[in-house]
């Protein structure tokens, strides 16, 4: 049937000649130190792509007809050539959706963005209350995010996005987030908390409980207008699938380009195990996308492993590769947040030493090279319903 809403999962799992979209972290520099940062950002990497190299990546994306790129970081607005690169991309019909913590969003920059076509902005906030948010993202980050939203609204930017990583402490605030989005004429976007980057250290305390996952599934079913980036497909095992393709697109239809040009299967697996190549390699980004051994193997049929006997494998596809990898679970088995509890059992049965060592990544360090402490979620009181 030549309709557009029938799942194309099979074709997509075999990979396409070019990604449908991709994430590009422009810099590891960040002025916040969120406890769940998927890229362990903080310090700028000296090997960051130079402006000319970054423009070359955009040329390649335009040549491959990648319609848009999700720009993140680090804090992308800290890159001095941020606006130049955004302008360069949209001039070549590569739309830009970028994520920001909002700290650098002045009234003037909001006006500038509102004058650009093909640019979407999403402001990250992880609590409907300052206390919930700041415990994860740092003191003052709630106020900064709200100020950025105020600037965008005042500049008539239109429907910007409010982007929330769902945690144990904000899972009770979904209606409040929806209300916040409505008050700005913005769109709410919820994404799944993965144990990636510094998130590996905080996942145990911060990931939503099993009850919260079921509640979240029902809430998402009741709020189809809320964007999710397809990130909760593991919940589709609970019944009717959530909107979206419900598949892991890593290395098949999506990937990550990191600030130094390394190409990973997805934004949540910044680890050598999932490194496909570098945009500075001879064949450029296209060469990595089309010829890397890693991506070729991801495009092969995957084993359902321990999930093969579960009647819901078609619905959840075994869940998220990154969530399994960074919790030390086999990739061909249940997701740690499997809605039937198989993941919790697997976590409990993990042999010692299977969790990959935490990478320091680009977290800020002190004079002795020790990581600068980031706010710990330990000081949370019980979740507040708002």
């Amino acid at each position: 049937m030549p309709a557009e809403r029938v799942p194309l999962r099979r074709q997509f799992t075999r990979g396409l000649d070019a990604p449908i979209c991709l994430t590009w972290e422009l810099t590891y520099a960040c002025n916040l130190a969120c406890v769940h940062c998927l890229s362990s950002s903080g310090r700028r990497d000296p090997g960051e792509l130079k402006p000319a190299e970054a423009r070359h990546v955009i040329d390649e994306l335009a040549g491959m007809k990648v319609f848009y790129v999700n720009i993140g970081g680090g804090e992308p607005m800290l890159r001095p050539d941020f606006f130049d690169l955004v302008g360069y991309a949209i001039d070549r019909k590569v739309g830009v959706k970028f994520s920001t913590n909002g700290t650098r969003m002045t009234a003037e920059k909001a006006r500038r963005l509102s004058e650009m076509d093909y640019v979407d902005v999403q402001v990250s906030i992880d609590g409907a209350l300052a206390s919930t948010n700041d415990a994860v993202r740092g003191e003052g980050s709630f106020a900064a995010a709200r100020a950025a939203m105020d600037h965008l609204a005042a500049a008539n930017f239109g429907r910007f996005k409010i982007s929330v990583v769902v945690t144990r402490h904000n899972a009770t605030q979904l209606d409040a987030f929806a209300g916040m989005a409505e008050s700005y004429g913005a769109q709410l976007r919820l994404t799944r908390f993965r144990p990636s980057g510094r998130g590996a250290d905080t996942w145990g305390e911060l990931h939503p409980t099993a009850d919260q996952q079921r509640m979240l599934y029902r809430w998402l079913r009741d709020h189809p207008e809320v964007l999710t980036g397809d990130s909760f497909f593991h919940l589709s095992a609970l019944g009717e699938p959530l909107d979206g393709l419900n598949l892991c697109g890593a290395g098949r239809v999506v990937c990550l380009i990191d600030p130094v040009g390394d190409v990973y299967a997805c934004p949540f697996v910044i680890d050598r195990e999932f490194l496909a190549g570098n945009v500075r390699d001879r064949g450029g980004f296209a060469g990595v996308w089309r010829h890397s051994d890693l991506f070729a193997s991801l495009r092969e049929p995957q084993s359902a492993g321990a999930c093969a006997t579960c009647g819901s494998y078609d619905a959840c596809q075994g869940g998220c590769m990154a969530a399994k990898f960074f919790t030390g679970l086999p990739l061909d088995g249940p997701d740690p947040e499997c809605v039937f509890g198989h993941g919790a059992e697997a976590l409990a049965a993990r042999p010692a030493g299977v969790i990959p060592p935490p990478a320091l990544g680009h977290s800020k360090v002190d004079a002795r090279g020790m990581p600068v402490p980031v706010p710990t979620p330990v000081r949370f009181r019980s979740p507040v319903r708002v």
Binding site: P2, Q11, C21, K65, Y118, V254
Partner: protein
């Protein structure tokens, strides 16, 4: 990861196959083995055209006086009602618009 996250309520749209249509100026098509990806830069919506014939038809609309004429030239007769419904859906999501 983000694939079809953009959900914009499609306006109620009457599709008249006897008028003239074209690919919406803000839409880009990318050929794929199954058909094509269509991306609307205005609504930020990504859609999938699931047959090469549909891609041919959509890309040819601007060369015919009507969608019906385009279908008569491109789509085998028994298939036309199906393709007409597909065009109506594409009109509703503004992948094609009246010219």
């Amino acid at each position: 990861m983000s694939l079809t996250e953009e959900r914009v309520e499609a306006p109620v749209h009457h599709f008249d196959p006897d008028s003239a249509w074209r690919v919406h100026p803000l839409v880009a098509l990318r050929d794929e083995s199954f058909g094509a990806l269509a991306y609307h830069y205005g609504t930020r919506r990504l859609l999938f055209l699931k047959s090469p014939t549909l891609v041919d038809l959509v890309s040819s609309l601007d060369r015919y006086a009507s969608a019906t004429a385009a279908m008569e030239a491109i789509v085998p007769a028994p298939e036309r009602p199906r393709y007409c419904r597909a065009l109506a859906r594409l009109a509703a999501s503004e992948v094609i618009d009246a010219r």
